[in-house]
Subunit: 148 residues, 2 copies
DNA sequence: ACTAGATATATCACGGTGTTATGTAGTTGG
DNA sequence: CCAACTACATAACACCGTGATATATCTAGT
């Protein structure tokens, strides 16, 4: 049913040179704050070495910082830099715009059906992540008003 | 505000060792029949060299065949083998099961909202692909494609 | 028919992304 | 203290993508 339908996201492509995992990792860091490499790896469903490498590249590009964890000498706390936060915000806007451009081309009744399915879709996302609700609100700097 | 919601698909992971693009390429071949490398590349939004490489790997793994195009000596017609068709069918089932397991955990009203949004989601997918309706023919028998 | 240009695919060099296996340093508890 | 565990890094490898470019074929103008 929903089969391949949820692949829409795959076709929404924003210019940015970020990989899918990189983008989601930054978004996660924005939502959850500084996190450990292993936690990020688990959340993004990639191996720990993959996340280590990604974090290194993101650090090289200035989007994240790696700080020592005062509570555990083995651990590293990965956090967004201002540039990282800015990139997350920028991509969020670009993505929302892209989706909006698609949704605008739907009929009124289709749009309404989507609108009413939003809570279900949101829950679906939560369930897919199998973790606490993904805080999609940019609580870092400014708030974006959600329009219907 | 569908924003990150459409990322659900990203978390639905079937065991199979196919890359995202490989999986979609096989599905496309199942839906459209033998296609040229360039057409596949455009449809999957990757470069032609990337598709050439992917097709080579898929051929090596026995999932596609490459036949000469009788109408154009430069061209190659890529088509599914029986193994390729079987893999597509298998993945379709696995994916449907995974989605169903998620949807089952929604409330009845959420499920109904999703159900009613299905046409809209379908249209959204079509629009995202910006091409003719994706023939999601469930049964993977034989498909015939009218030439232009 | 010849030839210039367009087209379809392949190849090359390169870097990002992922895997498993393994190493190293820090933590934990008997 | 020391063995086991944990967090991260590294190595070796394959895959996936890019742009630049080569080769063969098709198309059209002359």
């Amino acid at each position: 049913m929903l089969d391949a339908l949820l692949s829409v996201g795959r076709r929404i492509d924003i210019g940015s040179s970020l990989s899918r995992t990189a983008a989601y990792t930054l978004a996660t860091l924005d939502a959850l704050g500084p996190s450990r490499v292993t936690d990020l790896a688990e959340r993004e469903a990639v191996s720990q070495p993959a996340m280590t490498g990604l974090v290194q590249r993101l650090q090289a590009s200035g989007h994240v910082r790696r700080d020592a964890d005062p509570a555990d000498g083995r651990s590293v706390l990965v956090g967004l830099t201002d540039a990282g936060r800015a990139l997350v915000a920028e991509r969020r806007l670009a993505y929302a715009d892209a989706v909006a451009r698609l949704v605008d081309r739907l009929d009124a009744d289709e749009q309404q059906a989507l609108q009413q399915a939003l809570p279900a879709l949101r829950r679906l996302t939560e369930l897919a992540y199998e973790v606490q609700p993904m805080v999609t609100t940019t609580r870092s700097t400014h708030h974006r008003k959600e329009s219907a």
